[in-house]
């Protein structure tokens, strides 16, 4: 039956996605090709039938005035063929939808992987992807990086790593008190801060985790 293979493909990809949460399943090249072959077949058939109907209709136009009864008998034949064309066309559409669903599910997963695994994917995942998918991943990477660099350019800090936080933070700044004499601290952006004991600061979240772990600063809660 038409469309069976493509439905199989969709079911497969869904099964794979739920089975493996952090990774790209293997690209089912064989399945995709089979669906495409089927589609090619359907299309060719349709093309043939369509041409035939076209010819018949043309003939009908010529003989229209001559014989009405004959006309009716040929039109039933054309109708049967038209129904075939319609059926095949629907099957074609369905195959197309299934293929697109397959592709887009995979792309969605690839996009998610950028947020989970960072800008460089592991070898295993890369092997499971097609050439075009790899290209997509690189493009997406580029766009995201550009966007993150643009955030807050007119503000105090340049860019913000959006992938850093699982949940959106309430603020990109941190309000803390210095517990020990530390001296100069140079964050990523190179704007040096002097951390003197007992001073309170409100600064962008740099790598303050390290300072907290060292016991130099203490976050002040509101």
């Amino acid at each position: 039956m038409f469309g069976e293979r493509s439905f199989e493909l969709v079911k497969d990809v869904e099964r794979q996605m739920t089975g493996c949460v952090t990774g790209v399943p293997t690209y089912d090249e064989n399945g995709v090709r089979q669906v495409l072959d089927e589609m090619q077949l359907l299309f060719d058939q349709n093309q043939k039938d369509y041409n035939r109907i076209g010819q018949k209709v043309n003939q009908n136009d010529v003989t229209e005035n001559l014989d009405v009864t004959m006309n009716s008998s040929t039109s039933t034949g054309a109708q049967g063929e038209a129904a075939g064309v319609y059926l095949r066309h629907t099957a074609l559409e369905r195959n197309k939808d299934c293929l697109l669903a397959y592709m887009s599910t995979r792309l969605e997963r690839i996009r998610d992987l950028r947020w989970i695994k960072g800008s460089v994917l592991p070898e295993a995942d890369q092997n499971n992807m097609t050439e075009q998918e790899l290209q997509y991943f690189t493009d997406y990477n580029k766009i995201l990086a550009n966007y993150m660099r643009d955030i807050g350019v007119d503000g105090d800090f340049d860019g913000l790593d959006l992938t850093e936080h699982m949940e959106p933070p309430k603020s990109h700044m941190v309000y803390f008190k210095v517990l020990k004499e530390y001296g100069e601290f140079e964050p990523e952006d190179g704007k040096i801060i002097v951390l003197r004991k007992n001073c309170v600061h409100h600064l962008p979240k740099y790598q303050c985790e390290t300072l907290i772990r060292q016991g130099v600063i203490e976050i002040l809660t509101e």
Binding site: G152, D154, G155, D156, S171, H172, M173, Y175, K177, K191, I192, I193, V194, R196, N198, C199, V200, H201, H202, L203, P204, L220, E222
Partner: protein, 563 residues
């Protein structure tokens, strides 16, 4: 330079910069810092906060951050200093000064490079200062103009002759001008006083950038209460400013929804007994300076009268000793009416016990008046436990935390400490009066706290020290019944850390306007003393530190001056 537009000329300049806030140790600056930091946090502007308790600490904070910070905001400190000379190397820096101390140093007001900018809401900003310097600028330019025009015309000889005469003339005029300038400057700087609280400016700023919030108004009322309680503003001005604030409240209240846990602030007439809502009525009336002085509750006779009065008002002793919140409801309801009865005024000379103040409520928690919050914050700020270790910043942060509406436990702790502070203050005044240590010396009343007194630790910081001095003065005047005493200023001397004594001078009781001449006086005396004997480190000029060995000499000099 005076900042004209708070948003354009101040707030918008802070974006993208790192700001250092240097804040003095008083309640007004706590409130101002609270408002300002909330605004900066919303806009994601990075800042550092350095609370300082003196001029040296202020300089230290500046030199620590000079390299890394380009915008400085001084809150309640620095306006009386020549900032350009005090902070060396001001290149590429901006200094905003938000200070309620007056007088303003002339060089700050007329800073040529516009790096020092003063934030103030006063329309008639220091009339004296304005007029005198405008005048002298004109004079000077006039002199210059004349010189120029003379150079240009006429033959050379006549020109030279004229030039000589002109020079002579110019010198004479300059001398006159200088004399006039000095005179005006002296007149201007003679008295130190306070402008309305800085929080009002911060509140105005929050409104100017459309970030008004009822909380900001509440914090400002706390700062305004500070000005009333410590007599930094005349009472009339308090009334005027509180009317302005109730307009703000009306505006904010109409725009915000009222869910159960939101802050509600009302302007109401309330009894002026300090902390009575969170204490018992008896102690509160006994220890509030205003009522204590009317009743003379420190003496045996006064206490008897006090009991009698409570009886006459129909308030049983048992109920008055109970916590106000757990008083009998019928009794509590009649308290307010009882204290407005005319018998009090006629028989006990006990009047003026209500004051217009702000009451805040959050959800179902007991109400807080602005006085309660103020005293709680002040007690946290001047917490004697941490003072010794020099860890003043924690006190400042505690005080800041007590203002926020989520940290009830800090506020409750503050209330508890405020009670201890008030009790200590009352006991100290009682001790002064029973030992008869308040003595007239020359042109002022002098009182010295004994060195071993257990209460010393509560009065190391400025606000409670001034409060104590004011209470002592009031109590002494009502105790002695000598009319002349009310026209005398008072000088209080208390032991401080490491061999130093802190000396504070306050204005005479009869003087309505809170103008204090001790600032200038102490300054002139300090010059006469040997080096290191007098430290003028406090940001209020009428409070100085004098070394124990030189204390008596200092007082003698003061006496000689005041006679």
């Amino acid at each position: 330079m005076l900042v004209k537009h708070l948003r354009k000329d101040f707030y918008e300049l802070l974006f993208g910069k790192r700001v250092l806030i240097i804040a003095n140790f008083d309640i007004d600056s706590v409130c101002t810092v609270k408002i300002l930091t909330e605004l900066l946090k919303i806009d994601g502007i990075s800042f550092s906060l350095c609370p300082v308790d003196g001029i040296t600490a202020m300089k230290q904070a500046y030199s620590d951050y000079r390299e890394t910070v380009s915008v400085f905001v001084l809150i309640n400190c620095g306006i009386a200093l020549d900032i350009r000379a005090f902070f060396d190397n001001l290149k590429n820096k901006l200094v905003f000064v938000l200070d309620y101390h007056r007088p303003v140093h002339v060089n700050n007001f007329y800073d040529e490079t516009n790096q020092i900018r003063i934030l103030s809401l006063d329309d008639n900003f220091d009339e004296g200062l304005d007029s005198d310097d405008d005048g002298d600028d004109d004079d000077e330019s006039e002199i210059m103009d004349m010189g120029d025009s003379e150079d240009e015309d006429g033959s050379r000889r006549r020109g030279r002759k004229r030039k000589r005469r002109n020079e002579h003339d110019r010198e004479r005029r300059r001398a006159v001008w200088k004399e006039k300038r000095n005179e005006l400057l002296f007149e201007y700087t003679q008295f130190c006083y306070y402008a309305p609280p800085s929080s009002l400016v911060a509140l105005e700023l929050s409104w100017a950038i459309s970030r008004g919030d009822i909380q900001y108004v509440w914090w400002t009322t706390v700062a305004l209460t500070d000005a009333l309680l410590l007599e930094k503003l005349p009472r009339s001005e308090y009334v005027q400013k509180s009317t302005e604030l109730s307009l703000h409240i009306a505006r904010e209240a109409s725009t915000t929804e009222t869910p159960r846990d939101c802050l509600k602030v009302n302007f109401e007439k309330d009894l002026c007994f300090l902390l009575y809502r969170h204490w018992n009525l008896y102690d509160s009336i006994k220890m509030t300076p205003h009522s204590a002085c009317m009743l003379k509750s420190w003496s045996l006779k006064g206490e008897g009268r006090f009991h009698e009065m409570l009886g006459e008002l129909g308030l049983p002793q048992v109920e008055c000793h109970r916590k106000y919140a757990s008083m009998d409801v019928r009794c509590r309801k009649k308290v307010e009416r009882a204290f407005s009865e005319p018998v009090l005024r006629d028989k006990y000379n006990f009047n003026d016990v209500t004051v217009g103040t702000f009451i805040s409520e959050i959800g179902f928690r007991p109400a807080f008046s602005a006085f309660d919050s103020h005293l709680a914050c002040l007690a946290l700020l001047e917490n004697p436990v941490l003072n010794g270790s020099g860890n003043v910043v924690d006190n400042f942060l505690d005080s800041l935390a007590a203002l926020s509406k989520k940290q009830f436990d800090t506020l409750d702790r503050g209330i508890g400490m405020a009670k201890t502070h008030l009790t200590a203050m009352y006991n100290q005044v009682k001790e002064f009066l029973s030992m008869n240590v308040v003595t007239p010396r020359g042109g002022f009343l002098y009182v010295q706290m004994p060195e071993g007194s257990p209460n010393v630790c509560y009065f190391r910081n400025t606000s409670f020290l001034v409060f104590l001095a004011q209470f002592t003065q009031r109590a002494a005047v009502s105790h002695v019944r000598n009319r002349r005493w009310s026209t005398l200023p008072l000088v209080l001397c208390a032991p401080h850390l490491s061999g130093y004594w802190v000396i504070v001078g306050i204005k005479p009781l009869s003087l309505e306007l809170p103008k204090n001449l001790f600032g200038k006086l102490f300054e002139t005396l300090a010059i006469k003393m040997t080096d290191g004997a007098v430290l003028m480190d406090f940001l209020d000029p009428h409070i100085v530190l004098v070394h124990g060995d030189h204390k008596d000499k200092f007082i003698q000099l003061l006496e000689a001056c005041m006679v």
